[in-house]
Amino acid sequence: MNSAFEDVLTASMRDEVAGLEPAPDLVARAARRHRQRSVRLVATATGTAGVAAAVAIGMTVASVGAGANRTSAGAEKTGPGAERAGASAARTGGHAASSPRARLVAAMITSTRLSYRLHLVNTSTLAGHRMTPTSGRRDLINWYADYTGVYSPSTGTGTGVDVVRLQSGTLAPRSSYGTVEGYIQVRIVGDRYYTSSAGNDQHWRSGRGTLVQALVLNGGRAWAPTSGASADPSVLLAALRRLGSVKFVGQTGTGANALDTYDFRYHIAGDGSVKAHELTGTIVLHAQSDLISKITMRTTVTGAQPQIADGGRTTFTTVMTFSDYGVPVSVETPTGVVQSLKPLPGS
């Protein structure tokens, strides 16, 4: 039985906390910090492995030798010099991470082990054409994708929504240019993509290809040249390892806001639809965490087939912004009616 004093103490406690309610976003805040902590742990855990992998990749690239030199004119050379650098990195152990190229490769590897939120904007424009409401009316080969979703490289699954906007050239009235026409659901399961108009979960179109290819194909246009334009940085990494070159540009910002920028380029062989061309781009890393912040890719293709490039030059630009590393990703393979699409040229 409590004493009178203990009763007063109990009443004091009751008064002190009367009417308290937790903030509505308390669990969300905790979950966010939990994910951030998980990311830090994974980044720390993979840091050492990343260095070793970077050294191994550096040697692999070096072994490509002259072939790589031929396809990366004007950029960082691979070949014997790179081989020496790889061997040197292997000897110096952890110091290999201080090499910009090694850091970039390690960051790409780390980023491919974490899930993330991806915002992808993709545009194509014909040479000399500006997509504005006052543009001339013509049968343009252009499209615009504005995709936001989550993706887990480790499971190869992702899901998101692409905003469909009306474009110039086929509009009446022209003032409707850029307005939202609709939304497309997109799911990535392994090497297959599934797309469906929002609100219609029972009818899907499915094909084999990257996220960008999924968005392009859904828009009725075929575009195969940039195999690196995937939701998964590992695809780009594979392209860079095979053909590409990397150059450290510099650092901007300080502390937690410091960003490291790298330029890269790689050569893409021609095929029956497009001529050989080069893809250039920029990768921005968070300097502290070594996680990818943004990838920008740009290429101009020329093809003989009208459905590819209208016989002229078409410039494709892809901007991928990464955030929310460690975000949970849960994707189910669509059920219902699934219409298989023909493979894209070159895919």
């Binding site: 007063v8 004091s12 903030a23 910090r33």
Partner: protein, 183 residues
């Protein structure tokens, strides 16, 4: 097994029992802001081990709140905002609280809550478990993972300190406690 990254159970728990959980955390931490920090830290800890939480999540979360309050917060030497006062200042507050303006009881309770937040973490946790949660000594010992003897000694020391605060307050105006009411 629960899937990592899916905390729907926790969201439902906080929606249903959040007020009570925050009340406990606030009493342990000394202020509403510090209490919410403590509750959030406990939620993060539970999320980290979510795949292992097979029993009632509230029991696990409550244990975590107490353990963090006693161990982690002590280790950090983190002091709630209201703990900037010294023992002497606290007694001075209690003296001022004794003014006969019709709010004596409120002032005494405030002094006791301040005194509670001045206690060492384990003593504070024991008093919250015993007099807020209304747990028995053995139940409190089970939550804190210590012996019943430790609970008894911690409660005794904590109450003694709070009685000192109340005595200073009561002596100023020659008040006496009759049937739980100061007069």
């Amino acid at each position: 097994m629960r899937s990592e990254g899916s905390f729907e159970g926790l969201s439902a728990l906080v929606a249903d029992r959040g007020a009570a959980l925050l009340a406990t955390a606030t009493l342990l931490a000394g202020s509403r802001a510090a209490g919410e920090d403590l509750l959030q830290a406990a939620l993060e800890r539970v999320m980290r081990h979510w795949h292992r939480v097979s029993d009632d999540p509230e029991i696990y979360l409550r244990r975590t709140i107490y353990h963090l309050a006693v161990d982690q917060w002590r280790a950090r030497r983190r002091q709630p905002e209201v703990l900037g006062r010294t023992g002497t200042q606290l007694e001075t507050d209690a003296l001022h609280a004794g003014q006969s303006d019709g709010t004596d009881a409120v002032h005494l309770r405030m002094a006791l809550i301040q005194g509670l937040s001045q206690l060492p973490p384990r003593q504070r946790a024991v008093l919250v478990l015993r007099y807020w949660e209304q747990l028995s000594e053995s139940e409190a010992a089970d939550v804190l993972g210590c012996s019943v003897g430790t609970v008894k000694s911690s409660a005794s020391r904590g109450l003694a300190r709070l009685r000192e605060v109340a005595a200073v307050w009561a002596a100023d105006d020659s008040k006496t406690l009759v049937n739980g009411v100061w007069s």
